[in-house]
């Protein structure tokens, strides 16, 4: 096993220079996520339009390269997508992380698929799966107006 499988170039790039790491203008939903075991924190800001399309999404927070890269990749991937589509993408993403299944989502471009696949190395590091999924679960909470903070240990 090579550590480079986990820290692929795309992951390192997103980890070091996260995209959409700010409070997006005009957000109408937000939620916080916390992993109390390691201290990773995210705050996801979401602008959903009337048709439940993700008009804009951003995040703030701090954590390891995996959690930051995953949050960054998430915002890039689901911006402009319908919420239901975004949920499907998450489902595929989770399957990739937990079952090791190949990602091949019709609603994503080849580039988007490749970017998401860059996180597939996490599968071999079970302790790090929560790092990779924190932002995604927080996004769902925001979209579904759940008030409580996402807590990976609850």
């Amino acid at each position: 096993m090579n550590i480079k499988e986990l820290y692929q170039e795309i992951v390192l790039d997103h980890g070091k220079n996260p995209r959409n790491k700010n409070k997006c203008v005009g957000f109408n939903k937000d939620a916080k996520g916390h992993n109390p075991l390691c201290g990773d924190k995210v705050h996801v800001y979401l602008k959903l339009d009337n048709n439940k399309k993700v008009e804009d999404i951003s995040f703030e927070g701090e954590g390891c390269a995996i959690s930051m890269a995953s949050a960054s990749i998430m915002t890039e991937t689901i911006k402009g997508k319908e919420f239901n589509v975004a949920k499907k993408i998450l489902e595929h993403f989770l399957n990739m992380l937990k079952e090791g299944s190949k990602l091949g989502i019709n609603s994503l471009s080849e580039d988007e698929n490749t970017t998401m696949m860059s996180l597939s190395g996490v599968k071999r590091f079970p302790m790090r799966v929560k790092c990779a999924t924190l932002a995604w679960h927080t996004f769902i909470h925001a979209a579904e107006d759940k008030n409580e903070t996402v807590n990976t240990e609850k």
Partner: protein, 405 residues
């Protein structure tokens, strides 16, 4: 000290981690166990096991004797005055909770002050927080300075007529700072304030002599002393155990039970409710023998040498920031690497078989004070050598390489 010989006494080091020899630098979290400890538990279950202190058959007598012999060993090891002052708990956390709960119940009232430090592990803060909530008490935090140590004057400043207990760590599990326990006890004695010492990191690495330290309570974590998990020790001066109420209720801790009245025996029985972790306690006797065979002075000298070498080596890497620089330091090097989160560090190190801890190490207040969310921590045990440090330095360079920093 020949660490090869010492490592050979620990079966875990025969294993490969990710195809590499295990470089174990997480002993502050929990130490590894020598074969003698593992074998002792097995022997106890195979040949001597029964519940203790209850039945009169032969096995019960044997098991009780082995258990009480361990209590006597602990008494001698820490130089307590009597075995009545040695209470077995499930861990050091329970030992501190026992004191917070019973002492807090009896002696701490609204507006009274509990004096702790910013260095404390959550185990020496949260139990006092419960008392703060239950009794309306106040917790005062002695500040730690930029070196990651607490100045004695800081403690002196905060002692007031309302101070009901001082609870301090012996050795910080983040900065490695060794607290001047004796001086703090002297200070507290003048005001008749009892002192509790969280000895989780102190007991495995320092000479702990209760008569010399003079503290009222000392909490020990046996699994950090090359012993089994599930065992802690509370040392408490008998004068406290005589007046404090029982902690948990149940079998084994009673004298006489009537429908309208229950009486309790003296210590330690009063504080040991229910069936205890018998085999683990007996196993712990071998941990003490292991430490005594090497000698705590030799252990201290060896660890000091490795610590100094480690600090020196790790500081050669410009991207590394070591947390704290206490004058008196033991067994712990917490650090951050510029641009790399501690969890990523730990994962990359693990690839090389180097086991460290990453996170806040149950010290969120201290990390906040240091302006960081988390740190990486390499902590030493008697089995660590300079080559372990070299492996650590090498693996840290690999982090730089992976992250291009």
């Amino acid at each position: 000290m020949d660490t090869k010989v010492i490592k050979s006494k620990f079966p875990i080091f025969k294993n490969k981690i990710n195809g590499k020899p295990l470089i174990y630098l997480d002993s502050a979290n929990s130490s590894q166990k020598p074969k003698t400890v593992i074998d002792r538990i097995s022997k106890f279950y195979s040949k001597e096991f029964s519940n203790i202190g209850r039945s009169v058959h032969s096995l019960a007598v044997t098991a009780t004797n082995r258990f009480e012999e361990t209590r006597d060993l602990v008494k001698k090891f820490i130089n307590a005055k009597s075995t009545e002052e040695i209470i077995f708990t499930k861990n050091a956390t329970e030992a501190i909770n026992l004191v917070a709960s019973t002492y807090g119940e009896k002696f701490i009232n609204k507006g009274d002050e509990i004096l702790i430090t910013e260095l404390e592990h959550h185990a020496n803060y949260v139990p006092w927080h419960f008392i703060r909530q239950r009794k309306g008490a106040i917790i005062k935090f002695a500040q730690c300075n930029e070196k990651g140590e607490v100045d004695i004057d800081e403690i002196k400043k905060l002692i007031s007529n309302k101070t009901k207990i001082i609870a301090i760590t012996h050795l910080s599990n983040v900065t490695g700072a060794i607290m001047p326990v004796k001086k703090i006890v002297d200070l507290a004695n003048k005001k008749k304030i009892p002192v509790l010492v969280d000895g989780c990191q102190g007991a495995p690495h320092l000479k702990i002599d209760m008569q010399e330290l003079g503290c009222d309570f000392y909490a020990i974590s046996c699994h950090k002393m090359y012993g089994p998990t599930g065992v802690g020790v509370l040392y408490a001066k008998k004068k406290w155990l005589d007046v404090l109420p029982p902690y948990q209720g149940g079998g084994g801790m009673i004298e006489e039970v009537k429908k309208d009245q229950i009486t309790f025996p003296g210590s330690p029985t009063k504080y040991e409710a229910g069936t205890l972790q018998t085999a683990e306690v007996v196993g712990f006797s071998e941990s003490l023998k292991f430490i005594q065979d090497i000698g705590i002075k030799n252990i201290m000298q060896h660890e000091k040498e490795i610590l100094e070498y480690g600090l020196n080596e790790i500081k050669k890497n410009n991207s590394v920031r070591v947390i704290g620089d206490p004058k008196d330091r033991g067994s712990i090097i917490s650090f951050t690497i510029k641009g790399i989160h501690p969890h990523d560090i730990a994962t990359i190190l693990d690839e090389d078989g180097v086991a460290i801890r990453a996170g806040h190490h149950c010290c969120q207040i201290l990390h906040e004070k240091m302006g960081i969310a988390a740190s990486a921590r390499a902590s030493l045990g008697v089995y660590n050598s300079k080559s372990d440090i070299d492996a650590l330095s090498h693996a840290i360079k690999k982090c730089n390489k992976v992250f291009n920093t």
